[in-house]
Symmetry: C2
Subunit: 185 residues, 2 copies
């Protein structure tokens, strides 16, 4: 018994399709049927691979937040001085808030879920925790925490503005927040 012929590939495709769909139509407009159609799997497959919609959403957003934080860590890991770190952060803020509606939308969808359900708050907590850890490679803990919040606000506001602020402003804000605290502990 236990054949499991093409299980992993299926699950993968479903999660990817779910994220794409959420990005396009929101969690509200996401249904088993739509995800199944987009992933090219039968409807019955959905409840087979995922016990419920919630389970699928949780896996999807876990994947998403991991991918975002991975980029964050990679960029910050490449920086060798506080100044390079500041530049990297400015890049990240502007990358996140430019063009790419996808990541912006998915982030907000996740935050909305997190605001209401503790299970998703666990995800965002983990996300923040890893972000701060990366920031602590270059700055002291208190600064890392403030900086993390600043990055969040800058990204959101930049994305929502009709005339997004210039990179210089981003860098200025980052500099101000980081100038009080020194290098990493």
């Amino acid at each position: 018994m236990a054949t499991g012929q093409n299980d992993p590939e299926r699950r993968e495709r479903i999660i990817t399709a779910a994220l794409d769909l959420i990005a396009e139509e929101g969690v509200a407009g996401t249904s088993h049927r739509k995800v199944a159609a987009r992933a090219g799997v039968p409807l019955g497959s959905m409840t087979y691979h995922f016990g419920s919609m919630d389970e699928l959403l949780r896996e999807a957003f876990t994947r998403f937040s991991s991918s975002i934080v991975a980029v964050f860590e990679e960029r910050l890991g490449a920086a060798t001085t506080p100044d390079e770190a500041r530049e990297a952060i400015a890049d990240l803020v502007h990358h996140l808030s430019s063009g790419n509606q996808r990541e912006l939308v998915l982030t907000h969808e996740l935050y909305t879920l997190a605001a209401r359900k503790p299970a998703y708050r666990e995800l965002t907590r983990e996300w923040m925790s890893r972000s701060r850890r990366a920031l602590r490679w270059h700055f002291d803990p208190a600064t890392a925490r403030q900086l993390d919040a600043l990055i969040e606000g800058l990204s959101i506001h930049r994305a929502l503005e009709t005339e997004p602020h210039e990179r210089a402003l981003t860098l200025e804000a980052i500099t101000r927040i980081t100038q009080g605290g020194g290098a990493a502990a």
Copy 2:
């Protein structure tokens, strides 16, 4: 003709009920029927007073953002020095991110809509614009802009954390951001 016996009261109740419902179950879980039931109005009333769900949502969130920004303006208006303004901001951040799931949830729901649909982005744009105007009563424009983003990030992160940061950290961040730029232009 044109009797309009109890129009305004009805509309009011519907909008209030809609906001309550969105706070509890999210935009996703909000339907004409549920709002009608909560507001104590017949289902048919919904489509009569509001052409579509979208129209209702837009009115509801307009009301919501106005009320939030009104508190913001009031508190900042009461401050007479930059230091008092900083204290007021810290209070606002901590008020927004404490206890009150309602405002947090509604804010995220709005941002999620704004991230996808330009019509709602207009709302958030207006919101940001008014916030910044209030901040400019005490700080120069560039600082106001950075500060606005910082407030956003601090509020969100504080609300999502398991161990929300202390007021001292909030004040420290505000001070760092505002120390570069001087008083209002």
